[in-house]
């Protein structure tokens, strides 16, 4: 099925992309296109104009700066999978399928804030930082402030997520996912990370309107207790024809137990 008509532009630098976006508020950024194009084909999205930033080399690749890895937003899932990043390669292994991983980008996924996406749980548990550039310059957003709501991240209109800063060394980490068998998106996913200072952080995705930390799980694990049950309240979770809120709450408990056992 064809998307509705649109104009297509390619940016040759981040600076040019930001200038074009400032001039034309109708411009919609396209990265790997593996969330945007499926939505456009179903006419769930009908942007009048696309700005292609996928080819921007300055936004691709991973470099180490002391204690952090700086990851370009256009780094594909396949590149993440082959990298030395903590936790993310394990998560990338579970994203979609090889073809999706060859096109889809880490920045596109995190900017998009799909409630069923895998990376957000890892981003929260790792406590990554997001570098966002806009007309007013550059700002850094902590993971806890990135996922605002369903398909809503802290990346605003006219802004570009350029890099993700990921702590380079953690003591242990795990991601456990219950995937939808056809789409492979997370019906529920839990990430647990033991940081360099020993503190454990955990988060879930897929089950609610947005990825969130798991404070009760963190409290128990940091006190040396088992993960236990009742980590999330089903009243705050999503239900659809694939899984009820109660089932998703149960999945979070089970996946948290499995992930905790591995860190």
């Amino acid at each position: 099925m064809y998307p509705a008509n649109f104009d297509y532009h390619r940016a040759s630098s981040v600076q040019e992309a930001l200038a074009m976006m400032a001039e034309n508020p109708d411009l919609k950024v396209i990265a790997g296109g593996h969330s945007l194009l499926p939505a456009m084909r179903l006419r769930l999205a009908q942007p009048p104009a696309l700005l292609d930033v996928f080819g921007l080399e300055e936004l691709r690749g991973i470099r180490r700066e002391g204690d952090v890895f700086v990851v370009g937003a256009m780094t594909t899932h396949a590149q993440v999978l082959r990298s030395e990043l903590p936790l993310f390669p394990e998560v990338a292994h579970e994203v979609g399928d090889p073809m999706v991983r060859n096109r889809g980008t880490i920045g596109g996924s995190l900017a998009h804030a799909d409630p069923s996406a895998d990376y957000p749980a890892a981003a929260l548990a790792l406590g990554v930082e997001f570098v966002i550039r806009g007309p007013g310059g550059e700002r850094t957003v902590p993971a806890d402030e990135m996922f605002v709501g369903m398909f809503e991240s802290a990346v605003g209109l006219g802004e570009l997520l350029t890099h993700i800063r990921i702590p380079a060394s953690v003591r242990g980490s795990a991601y456990e996912k219950f995937k939808h068998p056809a789409s492979h998106y997370a019906i529920a996913g839990v990430a647990v990370v033991r940081h360099a200072d020993g503190e454990i952080r955990a988060a879930y995705t897929g089950a609610g309107e947005r990825a969130e930390r798991l404070p009760l799980l963190e409290e128990r694990l940091n006190a040396g207790q088992p993960a236990g049950e009742g980590l999330v309240d089903a009243a705050n979770l999503l239900g659809d024809r694939f899984a009820s809120p109660e089932y998703r709450a149960h999945l979070v408990d089970v996946l948290a137990g499995r992930a905790a056992a591995r860190v």
Binding site: Y2, N5, F6, L37, R41, L50, G96, P98, M99, R103
Partner: protein
Amino acid sequence: MNVTVTVNGKAHTRDVEPRTLLVHFLREDLGLTGTHVGCDTSQCGACTVHLNGEAVKSCTVLAVQAGGMEVTTIEGIGTAAELHPLQTGFWEKHGLQCGFCTPGMIMSAAELLRHDPDPSEETIRHHLEGNYCRCTGYHNIVFAVQHAAAAMRERQAGQAADD
């Protein structure tokens, strides 16, 4: 919009609407109908081609995004006289019934065998997660890929011995 895409080694320039998906460009503008459309949701993998050497779903790439790039389709990997080892593998191991998913299966498996000449059954199954078959049941598809992998390893060993 004018776009030039090199397909199976030959450059093609066409005037396309930006919304033209790469798969429709291949099928309708270039008449290369070996690449199939099996779904509307980017899931089935029947449209898999190689874009600058990487397997992608051509239903989820715009033709204009492929401008200046190289595409390989199922038509470009073997000939009727000399089939690609994966084509032989699907033939020998009955890796198909209706054959609709086969071009995508082969293009996807070809990428796997380039990185991993001797994949385990589990690796093959995980790698083909984005390619749906609705009749064979995957079992013989796994055998077909293993058959091709063995043939390609043998060929490689033969070449090494010749050198």
